[in-house]
Amino acid sequence: MDLGLAGQFLLNGLVLGVIYAMVAVGFTLFFGVLDVIKFSHGDVVMAGGFTALAAFAVLRMLGLESGMMAALILAVAAMAAMAVLGTLVAKFLVLPLKGSPPLNTLLITLMFGLALREAVRLFYPGGSNPKPFPRLLPENAWTFGNFTLRLDSALLLLIGIGAILGVQVLVRRTRLGLAIRAVAQDAETATVMGIDLKRIVLLTFALGSALAALAGVANGLYYSEINFSMGLLLGVIGFSSAVVGGLGSVYGAIIGGALFAALQTIGAIWFSVPAYKDVFAFACIIALMAWKPTGLIAERPAERV
């Protein structure tokens, strides 16, 4: 394999890795504040993509159907809608189950994901078929030998990294982030100190879900296609990334996302049948868990987010 082709694989893997990391950061945030896994997260990613598609239909009616501005509007619409959805899930499904076994929360959110998936399949016009996603980013490309740098891939990479860094700054540098970290460390003490636990949980779910929506839009723009069933696999990949990296750590989520994308890319190159890439990636994940049972960045009770 020559250098150009290797670079191509690297770039594609990086874009995928950033999309996975955006999903994984959500898992990590929710686990941090409430010690729960919200498994409808993958389907929220999917729903974000479909919200963007619906917004695009509206834009087309208004005659604003091309360019970066449209992409921005789509992303904002999807993020706002999913932030609301995430808040509702937290309020009506996750918080009321706080005292019950963690498995119940896992199952109830899994079932909500299934409901969301089915709702899109049944009620979105033509939702049961793959839907083409508009190509809104500039399609300039530069070719160097076997390496093609597409501007849209580069933009997606930058946007994804920017979003994750934004979340990291929010968690590390703002008052809200301080409250989130306090709740993550010790919810009871945080409440005693005057932090409104419920408000922080709802805000965290809104934040994570908005990030998921951005991941959904990025995923749509990257593949130029979305379908109702993509959420399950994206959710499991995001969860794997978060767990392998170490639940509760944003850096862990980034490492995990990049690692999973790398495993998939290696699997696709290695096997003659590229479809084995997921088998290979998941087998590696299981092996990694045997080696590092609490993820690469081990969970430290004192510092979770």
């Binding site: 498995l103 079932m111 499991v236 767990v243 997921d278 994940i285 299981i286 609490t294």
Partner: protein, 384 residues
Amino acid sequence: MTRRAPAWPTVLAAAAGAATVTLFLRLEAQWEIALLALMVVAAALAATRLGLLGRFEASSAAHPRFALGATLAAALAVTALLHDSHFELLMLATVALYVTACLGLTLQLGYAGVVNFAGAAFFGIGAYTAAVLMTHSALPHLLVLALGGMLAGLIGSVLLLPMLRTRGHYAALITIAFGILFRTFLEVNDTLGGPQGLKVPGLEVGGFSFNAPVFLGAQREASFYLGYTLLALLLAAGTFVLVKRLERSWVGLSLDAVRSDETAAAAYGIDVARWKIMAFTAGNVLAGLAGALYATMAGFVAPASFTFGDSLLMLSIVLLGGSGNPLGVIPAAVLVVVLPEKLQVIQEYRLLLFALLVILILRFRPDGLLPRRMREYFPGWRQT
């Protein structure tokens, strides 16, 4: 000391259950099915309010063997009533096999607290083993069924090391990853038929072919699913007895200790790893057995029947019934397997409605339909 609870609530419950299941399977008109479903819900609510449900539980706990006999008799009565209808018997046998697999999950999750998100994958390992061995070898078919279970246990043992080293959500990831891996592997593997799957020949035991028509008397022909249904019921009943006996024994006590507090259990000299391995492997063997029989009955196996969604279905049966209560698995399996198949009107919407139903139950009755009680070593004995 109080008097032993009477036996009649058990008889009543078994008879009512049999009548309901028969009606459910027999009825064709959609409004009748919907009406029956509503009536069952109303009856269940009334039974809970009037304390009948508690009486039934006390009664079946006081007479465990009698309760098992009554349940089996009810199941056989339903089978006899439906002996000539293919679809109904197929449904009944499917319920019995799901009960078997879910009892395996009960052993894992309900007793030992080992979460398994790949129940359908182990079910599928059994099914594919049966498909391959029955087509390509001359092994006796009963042995093939047993091998299906063994192989499920054996492949499951690959996951043991990561399962034992991790806990909580980290452990959940391992079986989730395995379930997805298994399905993807089947879909891309051409020797195992790819997405189309494989055909499975009918079961033959001691010269008796299960697929041949069965004649009862002169001209009454029974459905060829009759043999499979009886075998499936036998498997489910045997598994039920096994799981109940295990629960009552010191094995069950050790498993419960491992689930409730690993550290305390270890401090009392219980080998936590050993019991987790035992529960995980035994559960997978049961799922594999059920899967192998399912494959011969259905006549074909395909990856689409062993998805992550199916694993979730099994897990929902366990939680709906009441985690750790083998008795609860039965009504939950009937509900989850039969209702969507019969309500054709809602066919399109069945997964959506099913998801909403599980959400409602988890939200408002988190312990399941029949929550697990403390085990009673002396039936009817109460410290008052």
